[in-house]
């Protein structure tokens, strides 16, 4: 029998698809009857989606611009 602690410890393994069929079965059975673990698992997935939506510090579409490319290249030339 899995405990709630086991559920919290293996949540990432399940989310990343790194578990066996048997362990998935007992994981989801536990979620069926445990409200707090269901909540934890749901909110963990929400946490992950939230991190994924956090804007990057530098916009990867715009970066690097021509000035940045020049700067990096010139430094590289100086160094060599």
């Amino acid at each position: 029998m899995l405990t709630c602690k086991d559920i919290s410890e293996t949540a990432t393994d399940h989310l990343e698809g790194k578990t066996s069929f048997a362990s998935r079965l007992s994981f989801y059975l536990h979620l069926l009857y445990c409200k707090y673990c269901r909540r934890y698992y749901r909110q963990m997935k929400l946490t992950i989606r939230t991190i994924q939506k956090l804007p990057e510090a530098k916009d990867s579409e715009e970066f690097p611009d021509d000035a940045e490319i020049d700067r990096v290249f010139e430094k590289l030339r100086e160094q060599s």
């Binding site: 405990t3 709630c4 602690k5 086991d6 919290s8 410890e9 949540a11 990432t12 393994d13 990343e16 790194k18 707090y36 673990c37 909540r39 934890y40 909110q43 963990m44 929400l46 946490t47 992950i48 989606r49 939230t50 991190i51 994924q52 939506k53 956090l54 804007p55 990057e56 510090a57 530098k58 990867s60 970066f63 690097p64 021509d66 940045e68 490319i69 020049d70 990096v72 290249f73 430094k75 590289l76 160094q79 060599s80």
Partner: protein, 212 residues
């Protein structure tokens, strides 16, 4: 100065590698355009914003010196990112910040205390009002709180989280870039996720940022 027009031939990786080996300026400019963004993001994930720029510059220098020895066992991009990761880790070591796998065998300090001796929730997760990322991120306060939390994570945890969740690398790619086993990457990822879970939970309960 005017940037020379970049020939399309470099969209082929073989041509690009050959150009880099010839030390062709256009090839380097093309590579910088392609890879500077992901390189900077990776370096920032490991060493932080302040010295990420120096790390990336060092990495370009290494790329220039060793491109002729590139064995093509991986893509050019992942080879370059491995160089960035190595530069970043060397840099951390010099600054005597830990890069070791911080006591991975013990329990997660963030969640361990939430369970009683029988493994049941002693302090159950509270129910959040928000049910979508957009709702959570509608306040700038939580956004900057999460950014700050990520920047304060132990180096490898932060790097793992940034690569996996923010830059979309697979677990396997993260293992290769950081040179950490897959099971350890999963532990690092899980710890980082739990830390942010706790920060969101605390923010939902109190409206305040806690990075402890």
């Amino acid at each position: 100065m005017n940037s020379p027009t970049i020939p399309n031939e470099y969209t082929s990786e073989d041509n690009l590698i050959a150009g880099l080996i010839r030390q062709d300026e256009a090839a380097f400019r093309f590579a910088i355009k392609q890879y500077q963004g992901p390189m900077f993001a990776l370096a920032q994930g490991i060493v932080g914003m302040k010295i990420a720029d120096e790390v990336v510059q060092e990495a370009w220098f290494s790329v220039m010196k060793s491109i002729a020895k590139f064995q093509r066992r991986s893509t050019l991009k992942s080879w370059i990112l491995t160089i960035v990761a190595n530069e970043a880790k060397t840099r951390l070591r010099k600054e005597k910040r830990e890069v070791s796998l911080e006591a991975l065998s013990s329990d997660d300090p963030d969640m361990q205390s939430r369970f009683d001796d029988s493994g049941h929730w002693g302090q159950p997760p509270s129910d959040w009002q928000a049910d979508a990322p957009e709702a959570l991120l509608s306040t700038d306060q939580l956004k900057s709180c999460l950014d700050r939390t990520i920047s304060l994570l132990p180096a490898l945890q932060g790097a793992t989280l940034n690569l996996k969740e923010r830059q979309g690398y697979s677990l396997n790619q993260v293992c290769n870039i950081l040179d950490v086993s897959e099971s350890n990457v999963r532990v690092l990822l899980h710890r980082a996720r739990n830390r942010l879970y706790k920060v969101i939970e605390h923010f939902q309960e109190t409206g305040e940022c806690c990075t402890e």
